[in-house]
Amino acid sequence: MTTTQENRWIGVSAPRREDAPLIRGRGRYIADIEPAGTVHMAILRSPYAHARINGIDTAAAEALDGVHCVLTADDLEGIGDFPTIWRLPGQKECTTPAFAPGKARYVGEPVAAVVADSRYLAEDALDLLDVDYEILDHVVDVEAALADGAPVINEDMGDNTIIEYTFPGINALGVAGDIDGAFEEADEIVSGRFKVGRYSGVALETRGHVAEWDDLRQTLTLHSGSQVASLLRTELAAALGIPETSVRILTPNIGGAFGNQWDRYPEDILVSLASMKLGRPVKWIEDRREALQATVHGREQLQEWQLAASSDGTVLGLKGRVLSDQGAHLHSVGIGPAWVTGAAAVNQYKIANYHCDVVGVATNKTPNSTFRGFGGPEAMFGIERMMDKTARRLGIDPAELRRRNMIQADEFPYFSPGGAVYDSGNYPAALEKALEAVEYDKVREEQQSLRDQGVYRGIGISSYIHVSGFGPSAILGILDYYTGGYEGSTVKIDPHGRATLYTGMIPMGQGTETTLAQVAADHLEIDIANVRVVWGDTDQTPYTGFGSAGSRSNVAAVAVIKAIEEIKAKAVRIGAGLLEADPDDVAYADGRISVKGAEEMRSLSLADVAQQAYWAHKLPEGDQPTLEATYVYDPANFTTACGTHVAVVDVDIDTGKIDWVKYVVVDDAGTIINPLLVEGQIHGALSNGLGGAMLEEFVYDEESGQLLSSTLMDYLVPSFTDLPDFEIHHLVTPSPHTEGGFKGMGEAGCFPAAGALANAVTDALSHLGVEADQTPVTPSRLWSLIDQAGG
């Protein structure tokens, strides 16, 4: 018999059960799947930023030996586009078509596809496609796109403004305050203009699909790396015009998704359509060049902020304008990330008076859509830079300025003027803990003496909130976000008392299988080895409303807990009958069903009860045979993870090189299920955030509209040697609004990273007045600022 302590699994650094097969080469990725008779698809993508397609001559490609079919826009009759499912009021209608609709709008937009015996042959055939392009003027800059006379990218929109949304908005819950009064009352008005660079997930495994159409059964099985199989199934069936009951999505291991795989893409349709045409399996694996051009990009914004402050450092008001570079068309989530930027920009501070205009702008670039952080890191960059600028202007230490404006621990729930309700947290405690860990006062002293020696050391503080667990379905409804916010879980206890858990979550590296097994084992109080987690098959697993963003464990975990509560109640009812006791006198504890006060004498194991549940010889009246339950949990509120990061760097003013000295993280994600995995997630998300702060950027050439960072020699992903050692500390403020007190944390690490780095660099160069207001902070950009400042 086990003890309670042995089988409490929440809070334990259980090793990842995913690791053994992945490390030992038994992972199975899309590229490993190749059913008999598979043929291969390659896609012709526009080499131009903006060009009308007057015709495509496919004859030579079709004549090549080994080519099975060529698809162009002419083959799309009866095939629908993928919708933009977040449709804010005033947002112009926009969809994602399978092929460029008469004209190509960005370099990389699909124009035609070839299916052949091998990928080699398919690429040979691409060379033989003759497209009659009429090159049009292009625009790859948001301000240029808004200027009079700019080329209009989507004619049906009339111009390149897709939406202008104002916070506090008609749909937001926030209160506007008196923004004009705040600015009139202010002693100081501080302005900032920030360019947040365009980058993305750039997963190790690129996208890919294998589609298997069975013409006799009229079913489509799609092996896909999508991180949201339920939504893909619904939307794919609609686009293809076949019943959703005919579509099954199977998800193998995923080598990174980072939100990019949340969206629906043209290739999802193309590979399915090709399989339906040919009646045989069709495989498409995105190559790296395609991945950089055609998987959604993220982040890029031009932000202008003004902050009104009194001389004592009180922030009276904040107003801003955010131009979001959406690329050529809205993708699955519309301007969602930029909306989140507007909603989150007041961050941890009591800013009563707030106004922000968010403008979605079309440019001839790859669509900007779902990417880890989803608008939050962009918001944190702007506000945290503004806090440092304000501190410098007022002559107040940046830590002290934050201290004076933070929402206090006893002020929750806090209704933010951005519209979110912050559930809980202790922002000042996280700040103090971070300052203590970094030895703030000591570093400040050293900074002075080092500067005399020509060493330019800077300290950058960056605090953050991460609104996670997105979100109560009713709120999504208010926001015109056409999906639900719930997660479902089915738990089945087998006749031997072991549990199988079915989840619609798709593990993509964050340890979902392990953490959900921990939650189930903890609540059933059984050995974690007796819990199996099933995922990745829409025929078996529950529908998930929102899908599996990295911060969804908190919602999915509650669905598991709720399903297990039902199972335990049923086990108690069955057990009471077997023990000949009143159910009120029987309790579930230690994985056993026992008469209270007589646990040693009158007690049954979960297996004993489960066996009876399956025999069903004498079940309580009203109970069905077997022992299983399904629960679909719709969260009551968002949860708000939070924390403070402090970066310490040295800047080489001769080269613009940034050297790491220290990086301290204090995070608060509520109750921690698995500290080891939380640490791993922080490392990953921070690497992602610092990558965008220093290295990663999709650069477009203004002249040609070409994507210049089109290989991994030009688009630089950080490796270990480019990153600091992360010193991580936790605070635990359980969420009062979710069972278990969990908050999402898979994305949080990337939220404050760019602000911390830019604030540290700016601090290091304060004697020159250099301000790092554009990401990534590259050596070339930084040296140019130093040079202009006369350094």
Binding site: E123, R289, T655, L708, S780
Partner: protein, 290 residues
């Protein structure tokens, strides 16, 4: 990212390789370590009709230090970086090799491949230029020896090698007694192609510089830095001469802009790196490698 169709041969001797080159000429491409050619094939930027894989020609892999240093074209970069003979003769070479890509790339990449590919951001062409190296080119018609300067001129991603010639050996004359070196490059991440870099080899007569050879990379082509060299020869070692050399280097350097940095930044970098390399070289004087 799959290559177009090509024919493939794997000769086992130099003579066999030369016959194949004579037969296929400009339609052929020689495959050495493949660290640049294979990606170019996959991007279909290179579309040779015939690939001649010389990885099986064992006689092209050797290091011989006997007066001058001779290195077979197919010698792997790791072998060169770890060779005591190379380090003894020209310690600037292992210093440069350590900065080439990552270990896996150096295990496969070859000195001949690097020189013949002539990427303007590659370390070795510039280092070999500074060392006054020569290469041996062979064809069925015979053999010729080409100085690095004449091999590269101001070309990028090509050399003056003929279509039927195979680069077989790199010869580096012995270093001047008492010479010291500095090697500096700047890349955004370790292992990446540098935005700018410089190899400096100087010889001093007490405190006066008697010889100076500087090779730079990361511009539009590998190049010596004659203005910087002229500023150094005859000058006293020290800040004044090194600053003049840095400015000269910036004047000589064929800087260009790309996603990683502007031409202006690169010109500034070559100045800074030249001064740093010269300080490194001066720091070795006295304890040097002569």
């Amino acid at each position: 990212m799959k290559p177009a169709v090509f024919d493939y041969s794997a000769p086992e001797s130099i003579a066999e390789a030369l016959d194949l080159l004579a037969e296929h000429g400009s339609g052929a491409k020689v495959l050495a370590g493949g660290q640049s050619l294979v990606p170019m094939l996959n991007f279909r930027l290179a579309r040779p009709a015939h690939l001649i894989d010389v990885n099986g020609v064992d006689s092209l892999s050797y290091i011989s230090a006997n007066g001058s240093l001779r290195i077979g074209a197919m010698t792997r970069l790791t072998a060169i970086g770890e060779s005591g003979d190379v380090a003894g003769a020209h310690p600037v070479i292992p210093a440069a090799v350590a900065q080439i890509g990552h270990r896996a790339i150096r295990n496969r990449g070859t000195i001949g491949g690097s020189v013949a590919h002539n990427d303007p951001a590659a370390e070795l062409p510039a280092v070999l230029m500074a060392l006054d190296a020569e290469v041996t080119a062979r064809s069925v018609d015979g053999e010729r020896v080409i100085g690095m300067q004449d091999l590269i001129e101001d070309r990028l991603f090509e050399t003056t090698l003929g279509d039927t010639e195979l680069l077989t050996e790199i010869r580096i004359p012995a270093a001047a007694a008492g010479s010291t070196f500095g090697f500096q490059e700047f890349a955004r991440r370790h292992g990446d192609f540098a935005l700018a870099g410089v190899a400096a080899v100087i010889t001093t007569d007490g405190s006066t510089i008697t010889q100076a050879a500087l090779g730079a990379f990361g511009g539009t082509h590998a190049t010596r830095l004659p203005t910087a060299e002229a500023a150094l020869v005859g000058a006293e070692t020290g800040d004044a001469a090194f600053a003049a050399a840095g400015a000269g280097a910036a004047a000589d350097f064929p800087a260009t802009s790309d996603v990683h940095g502007t031409a202006e930044y690169r010109s500034h970098l070559i100045n800074v790196l030249t001064v740093r390399a010269l300080n490194d070289a001066a720091g070795q004087a006295g304890g040097g490698n002569g």
